[in-house]
């Protein structure tokens, strides 16, 4: 009780050994140089039969991919379309630990397609590759919605209807 009273008096409770070092806490042993704690969970590239495909829908908005990256020498985020003819890989970001993948940043196609999002981290002399298998879905209205800025010469009858012109059965 005396000890407790002292602690209350000084508004201080000391837990032996914690924190290990105020100014520079010891690095977490599960967090070596490189990337870890990725969200969503990495699922590997399509060629390796991944188990966790990530769905990217046009109306979802940005989908955040985030890892904890420690002591990196080089960080690169690349999108690799799978099965889209004659489409290149695109580097989307470098050096950052997160990207917000916007649907209109992705290669466009009128149909669903696969892609791999790849995070390459070089740290501590090692190269680490983290991959997410993506499925990119189009939105059926995007074929009938106005462009991001309306074109001037569209006449009233030709102005795209936001609800989308629809033909009957």
């Amino acid at each position: 009780m005396i000890l407790l009273a002292i602690l209350v008096e000084s508004a201080c409770l000391w837990i032996p050994g914690y924190p290990p070092d105020k100014a520079e806490p010891a690095p977490d042993p599960s967090d070596p140089p490189g990337s870890s704690h990725c969200s969503p969970h990495a699922g590997g590239p399509w060629r390796d039969d991944p188990t966790r495909p990530v769905l990217l829908e046009a109306d979802t908005g940005a989908r955040r991919f985030h890892c904890r990256i420690t002591e990196p020498d080089l960080v690169t985020w690349t999108i690799r379309p799978v099965g889209l003819a004659e489409r290149s890989d695109y580097i989307l970001a470098s050096g950052v630990s997160r990207i917000d993948l916007q649907s209109d940043a992705l290669p466009w196609a009128p149909h669903p397609y696969k892609a791999d999002l790849e995070l390459a981290v070089r740290a501590g002399g090692n190269q680490q590759i983290t991959s997410w298998p993506l499925i990119v879905l189009p939105h059926g209205d995007e074929f009938f919605l106005p462009l991001s800025a309306p074109l001037e010469s569209a006449t009233p009858n030709e102005t795209p209807d936001a609800s989308g012109p629809r033909s009957g059965e």
């Binding site: 837990i15 105020k22 520079e24 704690h37 990530v54 960080v75 290149s88 059965e169």
Partner: protein, 496 residues
């Protein structure tokens, strides 16, 4: 201190006494003010096999005690994807759409159609996709399923029937290479993952569950090689009665050849990614076509040239620089294909970049040396870069003209007793006529010690904790809970 991760005694004590830890006790500075913070938790689980990531409600730190964060315990749900005859459907993708981004989960059923997933108990929309949406097998959507621990009702894939169709123009010519996609009726956000191409006779076939209503969208392919704008057949019961063939009829529209080139301001040609978008107005004949957006995206040839045949309409071509090349900007060119036009030349000239300057100061006005800058574009192609402030607390360099979100990640401070700074954010506008430097002053911040626990007040080790602004969601700091002697404890920085 209980090294097994159970700290109930600590929690009880903390309710009755003011708790300061370690070196904090030695400080004579005033008690930091209380404040709220948001939290997002990413738990990789053992070998990243379990989903336990979750957002959390806003928390409060009183400035002295531990900040306590409770993590909801996940459950494992199991399900089975079956055909109508009760047999298991193997290899099917299952997507769970729960509340918030962290509720978007997925998995692939095993060869027997069995599926297991670690989730937070909640209500989910499910998409069950035999080809993972990429093929010709129809996905099925299941809404508002309550998923809790244990086995769910079997998810049944309905039997399918063939649908035959043909894409032609009003002159009777086959449209070859048209892309035919099927959506759930009235739900343009729900493609069924059924995509086929018209063949050399304009014919196509696909399979969908019979007797339901669908929207069918017919477009050109992604590379723009078929000059047609989209047609949508609405609310169509499939298959058609008596084996009728679905006929998609395009009006014969005037077209023109577009010869494009991509070059720098000085005239040097470059390769790049080009996106062409336009609006093709309705035509007096071909009643199924009521106007639509033409879209295509492709890579230029090695000499920077590209060629398309486009139907009449108004278009915009846009070219994006490569990520690595920050010396050039995005090119945009609008053009029109009018009736009677046979050839249009579109020269996309990529302008120069803009010099940007970002200055970071500490709360006392001194320059913040060695701060890491995350620089994110806010419009296509949404590139992100990382830079570091120099000895004057500033960075300057080339960027593609755009509006950027900038995140400042201050360096760790090694001087004993000196607080680190929480992250700060700003917006850099390089589209203004005379862009101003972005000046960010870091807020005075305090170190907070926290404890992440779950059922039984057990500390959860190795969880990535993002501490955020509860109003904007912007990240103030990130850390990982202790995975060693003090499981669940974490240390982070919050701004005042």
């Amino acid at each position: 201190m209980n090294t097994q991760g159970r700290v109930q005694p600590l929690l009880i004590i903390s309710l009755s006494v003011t708790l300061l830890l370690g070196a904090d006790c030695e400080e004579t500075s005033p008690i930091p003010p209380a404040r709220d913070f948001g939290v997002v938790l990413h738990d990789p689980g053992p070998y990243q096999q379990s989903y336990r990531s979750q957002p959390g409600p806003s928390r409060n730190w009183d400035g002295t005690n531990l900040a306590y964060v409770e993590m909801t315990a996940p459950v494992t749900i199991t399900g089975e994807v079956q055909h109508e005859d009760g047999s298991g459907a193997g290899g099917v993708c299952v997507f769970l759409d729960g509340s918030g981004e962290l509720g978007d989960l997925s998995g692939i059923a095993d060869s027997q159609g069995l599926f297991a997933q670690t989730v937070l108990p909640s209500t989910y929309d499910l998409a069950v996709a035999p080809d993972c949406f990429v093929g010709t097998s129809s996905a099925q959507y299941l809404e508002q399923l309550v998923l809790d621990e244990g086995a769910a009702e079997p998810w049944i894939l309905a039997d399918v029937s063939p649908v035959l169709g043909q894409v032609v123009d009003t002159a009777g010519e086959a449209v070859v290479g048209a892309v035919v996609s099927v959506y759930q009726a009235g739900r343009p956000d729900r493609p069924l993952g059924v995509t086929v191409n018209s063949d050399s006779l304009g014919n196509f076939t696909f399979d969908v569950p019979a007797g339901r209503r669908y929207d069918i969208v017919v477009t050109g392919p992604a590379d723009g090689s078929v000059p047609i704008a989209p047609i949508r057949i609405d609310n169509q019961v499939l298959p058609l009665l008596a084996g009728l063939i679905m006929k998609i009829e395009y009006p014969v529209l005037p077209t023109a050849v577009v010869l494009g080139s991509l070059q720098l301001t000085g005239g040097t040609t470059v390769t790049g990614r080009v996106r062409v978008e336009g609006w093709v107005p309705a035509a007096p004949h071909g009643p199924q076509f009521t106007g639509g957006a033409f879209r295509a995206e492709f890579e230029t040839d090695a000499d920077g040239r590209w060629e398309l045949t486009l139907p009449r309409g108004n278009y915009r071509a846009k070219a994006f620089p490569r990520h690595a090349d920050r010396s050039i900007g995005t090119a945009v060119q609008e053009f029109e294909i009018a009736v009677g036009t046979e050839l249009v030349e579109v020269d996309l000239t990529m302008p120069g970049s803009t010099i940007a300057r970002i200055e970071v100061r500490q709360s006392n006005g001194n320059p913040m040396v060695g701060a890491k800058l995350g620089i994110h574009m806010t419009s296509p192609p949404y590139y992100s870069y990382s830079e570091t402030t120099g000895a004057d607390g500033a960075w300057f360099g080339q960027l593609i003209p755009d509006i950027y979100e900038v995140e400042v990640i201050p360096p760790e401070q090694i001087e004993t007793g000196e607080q680190r700074f929480a992250r700060a954010h700003g917006q850099l506008d390089l589209l203004a006529p005379s862009p101003s430097p972005l000046d960010i002053t870091l807020k005075r911040s305090d170190v907070v010690d926290g404890f992440l626990y779950t059922v039984g007040q057990t500390g959860v080790r190795g969880v990535h904790v993002l501490l955020t602004d509860p109003e904007t969601g912007e990240i103030w700091d990130d850390t990982v809970t202790n995975d060693g002697e003090f499981p669940g404890f974490f240390r982070a920085t919050l701004p005042r």
